[in-house]
Structure formats: structure tokens, C-alpha cells
């Protein structure tokens, strides 16, 4: 993207003044290099988001923004239902409630080294991963609806994980006001064999080492110290979310004109929050959020079973679980007035600052853990929400690195076997059903996650706390 098209507000903030049908400005966060590396489509898409009815303050793009469908990935926008605000299936994404959860292990790198290979093999064996993999948990109609209504809370009740986990999950593990009846039978059918599966693409389970601490006090509050081993799980709502996204993208595109919405582009399909389609999508999307939370909860249980066998003294407590493809009703202060707004975060992480009432008590002083996934073989980061981001981005930060190369280019540039061997040489064990998948996800195909996280930190969206390096990666 040509930075000359933007007004630079400060080193990490860039602005596009409203022109034409834009109702609000667009604001992009990032340093000059990150912005220059963004596709022109990000400019086009974030300006289109700024044209949607009921948008509040501005349309925001995070430092890892890239070309998505409808909204850019890394896009944040809040809508006021009382002022004709809309909800957009493309503003959430097909992988509804895709997110990251990180678990402590109480183990150190030295303790993990002797069992590393067995751990990698066992995790790969126990956790379903990759195209066509099926889960061990099969749901009937009744249990499907219970799962969609209660999320991780349902999973814990079934024996997958601990009661205390729920406090460390957004919405306490259960997204309220989910409507299983708004979820089609096709979406439920698509999910039936996929509970407790990682999926493919950029989804993974990683065993990681804390290699750097940036903010000692917050790290202590998060329970992190250098040399600790943690586990991060990155996946979403699987087939159920994909099908809901598919169905509502179309119904929103078809009904937009009936609601008097002029779509800048059909891909921006949306519906008024107060319309039947809008309400139905909200209910279905919330059910998909519960599906994602239950899914990560089941995978957590499977992970604990493996550790129980290979490192029985380890205790895998949940640090936090945060989703980065959602639309959530939140309280925000706009022009000095508190309002309830529907905040879309597509490839963006909620980052509530210290004192936020939604945070669990023992994290309230530190701020919300913001979990930023790397790509296979590269670092991940843990940040903490800060109060300033409330005004900057409706309390949102980046979610990852973003690709800088298409899958096709990547599979031509790397050989999967070589990538696995090279990473093994650096002490990182990869287990994946697909060497082509590994090539497409090669570390070099992604942007530099450190640069993205630095920009988020400097822009004031969240604060850097710890850097994690992969030790084992189970890849879809």
C-alpha cells in the first residue's frame, strides 16, 4: 500500500479521511514498512467497511491487516444497533471464533527435552489433525444443541477439562444468547464428526518455550517466567462455523437491498442488527462461538491426557482463551457516553485493559492476556491489554503475522520434507499428516510476527509481555 495515500498521525497511526460514501474515517495501525507491505486491497476493504450503516468512530485495521473477504483480516468495526447498525458475516469470517488458548505446564525446557520426541508423537497420535480427520466425540441432536448453548461449560460437564478452566475463557466459557435453532441442520451435520479436531491450514497445537520476558510484573501475574514450557492451541469452530458463514453470507447479500442497504461490494454482505436475518445470524454465530470454545476445551483435555502419561507431575492450568473472529456486544465509551456496541473483530484480538469487569479477578490488575499466534517455526507472543486501546481500537489488537506469500508460491518455494528437517535441526519437531501442507505453511511464507507485535505495542493497542519459541508443532 502506498503510504502517500494515507495521512500519518504518528509513527504507528495512519488515517484515511472519509470521502464519498464513507461515514467515518479509516485508521490503520503499523509502522511504515508494515503499511507499505500491505496489499492495496486492505485500503479498499477498510474504506468499504467505513461505508456501512451505523458504524461508530472509525473502521480500524490492525498492524497484521491483509486482504480478506468483505472486511480485511485484521479489521475492527463497531456498530450501534440504535442507529441502523449492521452485522456482517464477512466481518466475522467463516472460521467463527477461531482463536488461541495457552496452557501452563509447570515444566521447564530442561524437563521437556528427554521426552520431546515421545511427546510430539503422542500429541500427534491423540489429537485429530488435518483434512478429513474426525474427532472422538460424536454428538446426537440433543447433545449438539446443549454444546451449542453452553460451549466449554458443556465440555467440562462432560468431563473434558476442569471447572477452573472456565474462568480463564472469554465469556466464562459460555457465550450467552446462542440460538441452536438458528443453526441449520447442514451446519450441525457438518460438525458431527469434527468435535475435538484441530483442522488444517494455519491451525496448530504447539509446545512452546518462554524465551523472553518484556514486562516482568505482568508476566508474574500471568504466571510466566523465562524457560517455562507452555502449550498453545490455535483452531476454531470447524465445519459448523464454516457452514454458518457460508449460509449467512448469501442470505445477507440477498436481503441487503430489502433493508435499504447499498452494498459497496456484494462481498460486504450485512444485515441490520435488528432485522430477522441479523438476529438469526447473531444467534447462530454465538452458537458457533460455543462450538469453538467446546472444541478447544476437548483438545485441552486430550493434551492433558498425553501429559498425564508422559509427564505425570505436570499441571496444565489454563492461562487464557481468546477468540479473534467474532462479533460481540460490548460496552464502550464514545464521546464521553457509555454505549453498547456490536464490535466485529475479524483476525483481531480483544484486548481489555486492567480493571475491566469482564476479566477474571486474578487477571484484572494485569489486563487481559492477548495471545498472538506465530506461524509454524516462528515465535508467538503474549501481550496484555492496556486501557488506552479502548479509545484507539475498541480495545483490540493484532492476531498473528499474516501471510506474505500465497500457498501456491510457498509450495513452489519450499519442499515440505526440507522444512521439517531444517526445523528439526533448530530443535523444533513438526508432526503433520501433510508435507504439502507443511510447505504451504513454511515460516518464510508469513510476515515477521515480531514486527507486527512491536507495532501493536508502540501504537498503544496492547503491551508486550513475553515471547514464545516453538519446541513441538502439531500441524494440520
Amino acid at each position: 500500500m502506498d503510504t502517500g495515500r494515507l495521512t500519518q498521525v504518528d509513527e504507528y497511526t495512519w488515517r484515511i479521511e472519509p470521502v464519498g460514501k464513507m461515514r467515518v474515517p479509516a485508521i490503520i495501525y503499523g509502522d511504515a514498512d508494515l503499511i507499505a507491505g500491505m496489499d492495496d486491497k486492505v485500503y479498499e476493504q477498510i474504506c468499504n467497511v467505513a461505508k456501512l450503516p451505523g458504524i461508530v468512530n472509525a473502521a480500524y485495521a490492525m498492524p497484521d491487516a491483509h486482504w480478506g473477504y468483505g472486511f480485511p483480516i485484521g479489521g475492527v468495526a463497531a456498530f450501534d444497533a440504535d442507529r441502523g447498525g449492521v452485522i456482517s458475516a464477512g466481518g466475522v469470517g467463516f472460521d467463527i471464533s477461531c482463536g488461541v488458548r495457552t496452557l501452563h505446564t509447570t515444566l521447564t525446557r530442561a524437563e521437556i527435552e528427554p521426552i520431546k520426541t515421545r511427546l510430539a508423537d503422542s500429541l500427534y497420535q491423540e489429537i485429530p489433525v488435518g483434512v478429513g480427520s474426525t474427532g472422538h466425540v460424536l454428538l446426537n441432536d440433543k447433545s449438539m444443541d446443549a454444546m451449542l448453548r453452553k460451549g466449554a461449560e458443556w465440555a467440562v460437564k462432560q468431563g473434558y477439562g476442569w471447572r477452573e478452566d472456565l474462568e480463564r475463557i472469554e465469556e466464562h466459557g459460555r457465550m450467552a444468547d446462542a440460538l441452536p435453532e438458528a443453526v441449520s441442520s447442514e451446519a450441525k451435520h457438518r460438525q458431527r464428526q469434527q468435535m475435538g479436531t484441530l483442522g488444517s491450514g494455519n491451525h496448530y497445537l504447539e509446545v512452546q518455550e518462554v524465551t523472553q520476558i518484556y514486562a516482568a510484573e505482568i508476566a508474574t501475574q500471568f504466571g510466566l517466567k523465562q524457560g517455562d514450557i507452555v502449550i498453545s492451541i490455535h483452531c476454531g469452530s470447524r465445519g459448523l462455523g464454516h457452514q454458518i458463514g457460508t449460509e449467512f453470507l448469501k442470505s445477507m447479500a440477498q436481503t441487503a437491498h430489502r433493508h435499504g442497504i447499498e452494498l459497496p461490494d456484494r462481498e460486504l454482505a450485512c444485515a441490520p442488527l435488528t432485522s430477522d436475518v441479523g438476529r438469526s445470524y447473531l444467534g447462530a454465530m454465538r452458537a458457533a462461538i460455543n462450538s469453538a470454545l467446546a472444541n478447544r476445551q476437548i483438545i485441552t483435555h486430550l493434551t492433558r491426557m498425553v501429559f498425564e502419561r508422559l509427564a505425570p507431575h505436570a499441571r496444565l492450568r489454563l492461562l487464557y482463551d481468546v477468540s479473534h473472529n467474532t462479533c460481540k456486544l460490548e460496552e464502550h465509551v464514545v464521546d464521553g457516553v457509555s454505549k453498547r456496541l456490536y464490535v466485529h473483530r475479524k483476525g483481531a484480538t480483544r484486548a481489555f485493559g486492567p480493571g475491566h469487569p469482564e476479566l477474571p479477578e486474578d487477571l484484572r490488575e494485569a489486563g487481559q492476556p492477548v495471545l498472538i499466534g506465530g506461524s509454524m517455526g516462528t515465535a508467538s507472543h503474549i501481550l496484555a491489554g492496556i486501557s488506552d486501546s479502548e479509545q484507539l481500537s475498541f480495545a483490540s489488537a493484532c492476531h498473528g503475522a499474516g501471510r506474505n506469500m500465497s500457498r501456491r508460491q510457498a509450495s513452489k518455494s519450499w519442499n515440505g520434507r526440507q522444512v521439517v528437517d531444517e526445523l528439526a535441526g533448530r530443535g523444533i519437531l513438526i508432526r503433520s499428516p501433510s508435507l504439502r501442507g507443511v510447505a504451504e505453511e513454511a515460516p518464510g511464507a508469513y510476515k515477521d510476527v515480531d514486527a507486527v507485535v512491536n507495532a501493536a505495542d508502540r501504537a498503544g493497542l496492547a503491551r508486550k509481555v513475553a515471547r514464545l519459541q516453538p519446541v513441538i508443532c502439531i500441524k494440520g
Binding site: D39, Y69, V131, H242, G245, K250, P433, S434, G437
Partner: protein, 194 residues
């Protein structure tokens, strides 16, 4: 699923004339075949035969998108462009040549808007792939008015034999285009979320 050439070759005098005329008016394009069909009053079956025999074979490709993958199918007819786009979809997951076409499944969708019909078609394949745990390598599409019916031929996913890359989540409206090009051929494309 496919019939032999002979069984579909109509044996009419007009067709023979059209073939001679086309041979003289090379290069043969979709447009010249359409001309020949008018000039020699060919039946739709005869025109389809010519399109299949003379037109360049359909083709598929992936086009660039930052995070996801664009699929593009081209062909001498709307149906062939849809079939080729479907092959491009399979190629996101695995090499279509590695997929046997042992089992056939029929799908149907109805949509007036051709572009939405493409999205429905690709989503119907994605849904069938996931719920039947299959991959497909041959597609036969018929479109009549707003109705698409198709036969998918494929086999169950074999994780040992198929080199599986990534699962498609859904077809999007991004870069969505279904159109007839200047040379008479058809193009069908969109971005697939993976």
C-alpha cells in the same frame, strides 16, 4: 459417467457441412462454432459436439489472494467453466490426478444469479467433501435456467495416498465473476476461504 465420442456424435448432413466450413475458417473459436451453428441450422446436440471437438479444452488455475486461494475455471460453455472451477477447488486440497473417480454423487442447486450459482455449486461440493469425507476428480454439470444439476465422481479420502494440503471452508463473493469473454469462452471464478 462420460459417454464415448461416437455415441454422442450426431451423423447429420448439416453437421458435416459445418465441420468442413469450420476447417476452412480456422482458427476455430467458440464464436466461429456459434456462427456455424446458426449458418447450418445445427441442433443444440450438434453444436455441443462441435464445441467439445473443436474448442480448446477447459482449464483451471489458482489465482493470488493474500490469505486464501482464488479458483478460476474456463471453458467453451458455462457448464465447462463450472466443472473446471470445481477441479481447481479439488486442487486446493490435493492433486486431482491422484483422486480416483470410483463413486458418483449427484448434487443440485437453484439460483437465478449466475455468480451466486457458482458460489452455491462450489459450496455444495465443499459440503459433500466434508460430510461424505470424499475427494472428487470428475465433474459433469448441466445448467438449465436457474437450475444446476451435477454428478461428482470421486473416492473416500485416503490419508496415506492423497497428499492433503488444506481444507476449504467456503466459497466467498470476493473476486466473484461468471462471464462470457470476447472470444465466446466462459470464465467462472471466486476466492475460496481456506
Amino acid at each position: 459417467m462420460t459417454k464415448s465420442k461416437h455415441s454422442l456424435a450426431p451423423d447429420g448432413e448439416n453437421l458435416r457441412k459445418a465441420v468442413r466450413w469450420l476447417a476452412e475458417s480456422a482458427p476455430v473459436t467458440t464464436t466461429t462454432i456459434n456462427d456455424a451453428a446458426c449458418r447450418f441450422d445445427l441442433t443444440p446436440l450438434e453444436e455441443e459436439f462441435l464445441l467439445r471437438e473443436f474448442s480448446p479444452k477447459g482449464a483451471w488455475e489458482h489465482f493470488h489472494h493474500d490469505a486464501d486461494i482464488g479458483v478460476r475455471g474456463t471453458g467453451h460453455s458455462l457448464e465447462q467453466a463450472f466443472e473446471q472451477a470445481a477441479l481447481a477447488l479439488t486442487a486446493i486440497v490435493t492433486d486431482p490426478d491422484s483422486v480416483r473417480s470410483d463413486k458418483t454423487i449427484t448434487v443440485a442447486c437453484r439460483e437465478q444469479d449466475r455468480e451466486l450459482l457458482l458460489v452455491d455449486w462450489l459450496n455444495a461440493i465443499i459440503y459433500t467433501m466434508v460430510t461424505d469425507n470424499m475427494l472428487f476428480s470428475r465433474f459433469k454439470v448441466s445448467i438449465a435456467g436457474d437450475k444446476l444439476t451435477a454428478t461428482l465422481a470421486g473416492e473416500p479420502i485416503d490419508r496415506a495416498r492423497h497428499e492433503l494440503a488444506v481444507e476449504p471452508k467456503g466459497a466467498t463473493f470476493t473476486e466473484l465473476k461468471v462471464a462470457q469473454r470476447d472470444d465466446g469462452s466462459w470464465l467462472a471464478q471466486c476466492v475460496i476461504d481456506v
